[in-house]
Every structure is written in structure tokens, then in C-alpha cells.
């Protein structure tokens, strides 16, 4: 069963440990600017949104790439950039509907999540439960449970009543 990184923004505390784990795994150093997952913060309210490639079924990035450097592996479903073929034109960056591809000027090529070949380090590093690596079918139920909780919270704010 194909797996995915399931994001629950409500649980994210903005600690950036996912970014640090990712950058360390890829570059052997800590640099948020090298992370393949990024925490976007809505500054006024400090609401956090982890942003990472979802390895689309029809990845627009692969269509946008003029050198076919970026491809989805049919066996694993992982969308990867071949650095040897990449010319750094950033077409993939422009094409991604989720902003899951990032520029890293000093690395010369765009960077993106490759699911650490099946053991994503960001998920391992998240101890708040905001990131989970689950098969796509059970993701439905986790997402529904999160949505139900979010709905209850919203109703609480709107009506001022608990439960």
C-alpha cells in the first residue's frame, strides 16, 4: 500500500524540528534553508502549516521539467529530481500547486521531499503528531478524525459552548 505524509496543522507547534531533521539528513548540517519540508506560519495568529511534496498521481512538476530530470517512480510512487539532469530552471517550482518544491540558491538545484526512500526523517522528528506517515487508505480516517475535532473546536468558538 502506498504511503503518504499526512499533515495535521492544528497539532504543529512551529518547533521546526522537522526542518532540522530534513536538512541534517540531506546535508549533514542544520539549515532551515535546506529543508525539503517547510513550516509556513500565518504570522499574525501563529498558525502553522507544514508544506511538503505530496507526490501527486499526476505530478505537474514532471510535465513542466524540460530535461525530464524530475520523475515519479512507478514502483514506489516517489517523485524525485535527478540532480545530474536538472538545469535549475525552476519550472517545477513554478508548476507545483502545493509549493512543495523549494529553491536553495547555494545548492544550484531546486530541492524537494523524496520521502527519504520510505522512512521520512521529518515524520520521525515530529513529536507533536502533526506529521504522520500512513498508507493512503487509512489517511482518510485520520483526516476525518482531525476534521471532526476541528469542527468541534470551531463550534465551541462560534457558540461559546463546550462538547
Amino acid at each position: 500500500m502506498e504511503k503518504m505524509i499526512l499533515i495535521d496543522p492544528d497539532k504543529c507547534r512551529g518547533c521546526m524540528r522537522c526542518e532540522l531533521a530534513c536538512s541534517f539528513n540531506k546535508e549533514k548540517s542544520f539549515n532551515n534553508a535546506h529543508s525539503r519540508i517547510r513550516i509556513f506560519a500565518v504570522q499574525e495568529v501563529l498558525a502553522f502549516m507544514p508544506v511538503v511534496c505530496q507526490h501527486c498521481e499526476t505530478p505537474l512538476c514532471t510535465y513542466a521539467c524540460p530535461t525530464k530530470a524530475i520523475r515519479k517512480d512507478p514502483a514506489t510512487g516517489i517523485v524525485k529530481i535527478d540532480e545530474n539532469l536538472c538545469i535549475g530552471c525552476l519550472s517545477c517550482f513554478a508548476a507545483c500547486p502545493l509549493s512543495g518544491i523549494f529553491t536553495a540558491p547555494d545548492l544550484k538545484v531546486p530541492i524537494k521531499c523524496d520521502l527519504c526512500d520510505g522512512e521520512p526523517k521529518c515524520v520521525e522528528a515530529c513529536d507533536y503528531g502533526a506529521l504522520q506517515f500512513v498508507d493512503k487508505e487509512s489517511a482518510n480516517y485520520t483526516k476525518m478524525a482531525n476534521a471532526a475535532k476541528a469542527y468541534a473546536k470551531l463550534m465551541e468558538i462560534v457558540t461559546g459552548r463546550k462538547g
Binding site: 507547534r13 532540522l20 546535508e27 539549515n31
Partner: protein, 651 residues
């Protein structure tokens, strides 16, 4: 290496910026962060400087481990001469404010710097923009007058990336002596008036971002230690509750240890207890690389201030001040914290001074003549009016804006007569040693040059620890067995352990912890020990240390801090335990006297003086004067680090 050994020297007057480096030897002896920051202070900060003059210097230091994924490594410190008046004759101390943050520390490290040394005064309001190699002085006239929180939002959005921001609000601009700086909106460099120092320099904010990697010397070893700590922290049984409530957790201990003694406990619980906290709590937010997020995002859901949100840690301070000021609606106090954070002013000092003067006025001890015609009332609406006057330095508020000692200078009102917390070196302590009991954090309040705990959190700051657990934490600072035995030899003076001796080593260990940039919540809960810190530091920097080396380095840092304060005239007279603590608290819950940690005996003035004697002796200092001796300082080899020890001692 997770240290850069590089700092920026920034002169706001001439707009000169220079990149300078520091010898590795200095790091070997002082670790980094505020440790090395204090060494820079001996070079740049003149003890006789007027804190609000252009010549005062602010040194912002990033901890040695900040930028890595060591749990809770986000701490920065700001060293300066603080404006708060420490004595009737107007002495002002040098020390450090410390705080975590979501981005500032790591961003500065990634920009390539361990420290900023800031001096001079900008011609007009500016903010410093440090983006990797570029440093700019940017016009801040559109930000002047805006809240610290709003300023942060504007700057982050202007840069379009998650930059780190230190900002001041109106209180700093107006040079209120207890104004503060906010870090990334969620944290603060608080107490004693750093905000005013920024304000006096026309420095509204610093925004920083960097894209250089933070490397560690021995990556595998480093990650092994981090993983071990991570497992320990994640498995900690208190974590779930702590993540839910952050700094608002622990009401069941808090209600005893920080009880102001005015309302019955039952009433306090009903109006400010955990249930009330949960009513406004939206979620907790973590500092960079933190596993136990403690910062709080709150939202007032109903009533007059419905919809208002804020960031920080509002619950402890709103509960104690709410009781002191007889404000029964917790939402009103939360609203006030939100305002105080926006103005960038110390909530403890502000609310307690307001409690003091309004009560004295009612008692006829402060007259309408003295307040300049202002009638001081005991109601919430008036509190906020007076608060605005302080922030804007208007009328009577202008006098209050100078802090407790000005009341004494101006009206002969003795701050020592205030009934909660206690005053030392012109600063009110956030805890009161009678409900809290006399544990090491209480002692460090008056032994530290800057009278605030400064992150000196250990297990002893919580009730209900066993003597074995307390001892184990000290053992893991790597002290010789003989020393540990002496600390834990019971005596009729102090009870089961010697608070004086404990405090000495705690201060040293905590100076080291701050230099590393690690958070004190972890040491408060006994989740991070001295030997863990040593392993992290060794693997990160390649400078191999044991726990005891950290204590030794901390001792050097503590002595340098004290040394800087000698020319100003500080000595044992100033390290005075507040009188208040020896007067029993008469409360609806009965008489509360200051006892030892285990509540087995009342601690008297003689007991404290005896512990203080032993404390100085353990430091190897002159017991009578409470100051480092030349012999001790050469033993610590401070002169070898290029510190002109004699110059400070002679002054």
C-alpha cells in the same frame, strides 16, 4: 562547529559595521553565548556608563548549541547596563536578560554570527536589518509608536520569510526603566529595562535571517545524544499536560507556591484556576527545536475583550496580580497582559507598583499633592489609566516609570514595605519566598548581580521532590563527591541541604546552560542534566568537556559578571535578602512563614546571613564585602583571557 567565533560590531551613531572574530581559547574557557558575551562586555561596556546614553552597549549573544536540533536550544542573551535603579543612591547594574524564541537565535547563527555588539545612537528611529552578509540601518519612522507584536508582524511580512525579530513597544521608546524587548512575539528579554536601552538608541527592532548551515563537529555522536534526550523527554509522564497548557500547567503546585495571601485559596481557584486558563488557551507554541512547547497563544472568547489574541505566558502573572489588585475577572487581567506585551513593559513590576501606590493612597500614606492631583483608585478601569500614564510617562506615571527606588527618592516611600515578592537591587521578585519557601532560586534572587532568576531553574523550584532526586541532579553537575556531601549534610541552620552552597553551584551550572543556549524548563523538570549538556557541547564543538568543566566555565562567567559590577559600587550590602520574607504572610489560609524547602523549620535572618557567609566562602570570595578576590580571579585565569582584572578590582 555550532559556533562561528564571529561577531558584528555595530555603531549606530556612525553606522559603522565591522565583522570581528574571537579566539578559540575564549570559547574553551567560556563556552560561547552569554559566556563569551560577558568577555566582550569587559572590552566594550564601561561600568560607569549611563545606561541610557549612546555609550552604553548591548551585546546580544546566541547560545553555542542554538541552530542545532538539541532539545530546547534556542536561547539568546542580552548583556547591558540596565536602567532600573538598584539603590537609593541610583546605582545601576550590569547583567544579562535571556530568552528563547522561534527564530531569532538560529537565524543570527545562520547569518554567521554568535554575537552582536551594538553601541551608539541612531539619529532617528531605525531598525537593524541583518540578512546573511548584509547589514542595513533602515528607517523605522513608520514603526515608531507601534506595538512590539505589531512591529514583529510587519517586519516578518516585509521580509517574506520566517525571520527572527527583537522589537520594543511604546514603553521602550519612552524609556520606562522596566520596559522590555520581545523576541519573535512569543518570548522576551524582560525585567530591568533593556527596552529603554533600545529606545535610547532609537533602535526599534532587529530583524535577522541567515541561510548558512549550522554544523556540528561530530555529527553521529551528536545525533546519538540528541536521540537519547529526545526519547527521555517524549516519554516523560508530565509531557502531555505540559504541551496542553505550557507555562500555564501546574496550577496545583502554583496555587501554593505563588499564593499572594489575599484571597482564600478556594476563591482564587474559582476565579483563576486551571479551568479558567483553559477558557482562553488556544494552543501552545514551541521555541526553535523544542519538544515541550510552553509558549501560549491565547484568545479571549467572550466578554468585553472577545476575540483578542496574544502570545507569551499570561497565566501565572495574571493570577497573582489579579488577586493582589482584587480583579475578579480573569479575562480583564489577560487583556492587560496582552496590552503589556504590545507596549513591551514588565507586567510584574507594573502591576505590583500599581497595587502598592493605590493601596498607600487609600491608607493616606500617599497624598493627592504627591500624585500631582491624581486620585488613585482601586478599580480596574483606573489601573489601566495609570498603566497608560506609566507607558507614556505622563504626570505621576512619569515617576512610576522609573521604578521602585524612585518612590523612595521622591516620597520617602520604602519599597521594602510592599507586601508580596520582595525587592532586591530595585527589582521586585516574581516569587515570594514565604509561600514558595527558601530554596536556591530564592537565594540567587539576591546573590546574582541582576536580581532575576536568569534561568536558574532546577528541581528545587518545585514542591514535592525527594532529597534523593535533588541530590541526583547535583551529582550530575559532576561536582566532586566531597562537595556534594557538604551540600547535603543536614544542619539546624538550613535543614536537609545547604541552600547557600547549592546556590553557588547552581548559578555556575546555569550560567553554563545559558552559554550553551539551552532552556531552563528542561532543567526545572530534571529532563536535562549537566553531563548531557557536556556531551552535547563536546560533540557539537569538538571542544571536549565533562559536566564539571561546564561548572568551572560557569564559575568564570559568574565571576566576570560580578567583576563588571564592582566599579559601580556593588558589594554585600546590595545582596540583601528582602526584609519582607522574615515577616510572616498573614493570609485567609493562615500564617505563612518562610521555611526551608521541606517545610521543616522557619528560616531566620541569621540563618540567611550564615548561608550567605558560606556562599561567599564557597565562591572563594571576600566574605565581608561579598566580592571576588584577586587570588580567586587569578585562579580562574581570567587575566589569561585578556580581562584586565586589576582595573576592575581597583576601581
Amino acid at each position: 562547529m555550532s559556533i562561528t567565533r564571529t561577531y558584528l560590531y555595530i555603531d549606530l551613531t556612525s553606522e559603522k559595521v565591522e565583522k570581528r572574530t574571537i579566539d578559540e581559547e575564549i570559547y574553551t574557557k567560556l563556552l560561547g553565548g552569554t559566556g563569551v558575551g560577558f568577555k566582550l562586555a569587559t572590552e566594550y561596556l564601561k561600568p560607569d556608563v549611563d545606561p541610557l546614553s549612546p555609550e552604553n552597549v548591548v551585546i546580544i549573544s546566541v547560545g553555542a548549541l542554538v541552530g542545532t536540533n538539541a532539545p530546547g536550544a534556542s536561547k539568546i542573551g542580552a548583556i547591558t547596563k540596565f536602567p532600573i535603579l538598584a539603590s537609593e543612591d541610583g546605582k545601576q547594574f550590569i547583567g544579562e536578560s535571556t530568552g528563547g524564541g522561534r527564530s531569532f537565535g538560529p537565524s543570527l547563527k545562520r547569518a554567521g554570527y554568535d554575537h552582536l555588539v551594538i553601541t551608539g545612537k541612531a539619529k532617528k528611529p531605525i531598525y537593524l536589518r541583518i540578512i546573511d552578509d548584509s547589514v542595513e540601518f533602515v528607517d523605522a519612522s513608520d514603526l515608531w509608536g507601534r506595538g512590539a507584536d505589531e512591529t514583529t508582524d510587519i517586519l516578518v511580512k516585509r521580509e517574506g520569510k520566517p525571520c527572527g525579530v527583537i522589537a520594543i513597544g511604546k514603553a521602550g521608546e519612552n524609556k520606562v526603566y522596566y520596559s522590555m524587548c520581545h523576541i519573535d512575539k512569543t518570548n522576551s528579554l524582560g525585567r530591568s529595562g533593556l527596552g529603554a536601552v533600545f529606545g535610547s538608541k532609537n533602535l526599534k527592532a532587529i530583524v535577522v535571517w541567515g541561510t548558512n548551515p549550522v554544523k556540528v563537529k561530530e555529527p553521529d555522536k551528536f545525533m546519538e545524544v540528541v536521540e537519547e534526550l529526545r526519547r527521555r523527554i517524549v516519554e516523560w509522564e508530565g509531557r502531555e499536560h505540559w504541551i496542553l497548557l505550557g507555562m500555564g500547567a501546574g496550577w496545583n503546585t502554583f496555587k501554593y507556591t505563588q499564593y499572594p495571601g489575599k484571597w482564600p485559596l478556594e476563591k482564587w481557584e474559582r476565579l483563576y484556576g486551571e479551568e479558567r486558563r483553559l477558557e482562553t488557551l488556544e494552543k501552545t507554541v514551541g521555541c526553535h527545536s523544542c519538544l515541550i512547547s510552553c509558549r501560549i497563544k491565547w484568545r479571549i472568547k467572550d466578554g468585553e475583550y472577545a476575540g483578542e489574541i496574544g502570545f507569551g505566558s499570561p497565566y501565572g502573572k495574571s493570577a497573582t496580580s489579579g488577586q493582589l489588585l482584587d480583579v475578579e475577572d480573569h479575562r480583564k487581567m489577560i487583556h492587560w497582559v496582552t496590552l503589556a506585551n504590545s507596549y513591551g513593559i514588565d507586567f510584574y513590576t507594573t502591576t505590583r507598583m500599581i497595587d502598592f501606590v493605590t493601596t498607600l493612597y487609600q491608607q493616606g500614606k500617599l497624598t493627592k499633592e504627591q500624585t500631582g492631583g491624581l486620585e488613585l483608585k482601586r478599580d480596574y478601569k483606573f489601573y489601566l489609566e495609570l498603566f497608560e500614564k506609566i507607558v507614556n510617562r505622563e504626570g505621576f506615571g512619569n515617576i512610576m516609570a522609573d521604578g521602585w527606588m524612585r518612590l523612595k527618592q521622591k516620597f520617602g516611600i520604602d519599597p521594602q514595605d510592599y507586601w508580596y515578592g520582595g525587592i532586591c537591587k530595585g527589582v521586585d521578585f516574581i516569587y515570594d519566598a514565604r509561600p514558595s519557601r527558601f530554596h536556591p532560586l530564592m537565594m540567587t534572587f539576591f546573590t546574582r548581580p541582576r536580581p532575576h532568576h536568569g534561568g536558574s531553574h532546577t528541581l528545587t523550584n518545585r514542591r514535592g521532590q525527594t532529597i534523593e532526586a535533588i541530590r541526583k541532579q547535583v551529582e550530575r553537575w559532576g561536582l566532586p563527591k566531597e562537595t556534594v556531601d557538604r551540600i547535603f549534610t543536614p544542619s539546624p541552620v538550613y535543614g536537609k541541604f545547604h541552600v547557600g552552597l547549592y546556590t553557588k553551584y547552581m548559578e555556575d551550572m546555569m550560567k553554563a546552560k545559558n552559554a550553551l543556549g539551552l532552556c531552563s524548563v528542561y532543567t526545572f523538570f530534571g529532563l536535562l542534566f549537566g553531563d548531557d549538556m557536556a556531551r552535547l557541547y563536546s560533540a557539537a564543538t569538538g571542544i571536549h568537556v565533562e559536566a564539571y568543566d561546564l561548572v568551572k566555565a560557569g564559575e568564570r562567567i559568574f565571576n566576570i559578571t560580578k567583576l563588571l559590577n564592582i566599579p559601580i559600587g556593588f558589594d554585600r550590602k546590595d545582596d540583601r535578602c528582602p526584609e519582607l520574607w522574615f515577616r510572616p504572610m498573614i493570609s485567609p489560609e493562615g500564617k505563612i512563614e518562610m521555611t526551608d524547602y521541606f517545610g521543616t523549620k522557619v528560616i531566620t535572618r541569621e540563618d540567611v546571613e550564615k548561608m550567605l557567609d558560606d556562599y561567599y566562602k564557597e565562591r572563594g570570595w571576600d566574605v565581608k564585602r561579598g566580592l571576588p578576590t584577586k587570588q580567586k580571579l587569578s585562579e580562574l585565569e581570567l587575566d589569561k583571557l585578556g580581562i584586565p582584572v586589576d582595573k576592575f578590582l581597583k576601581a
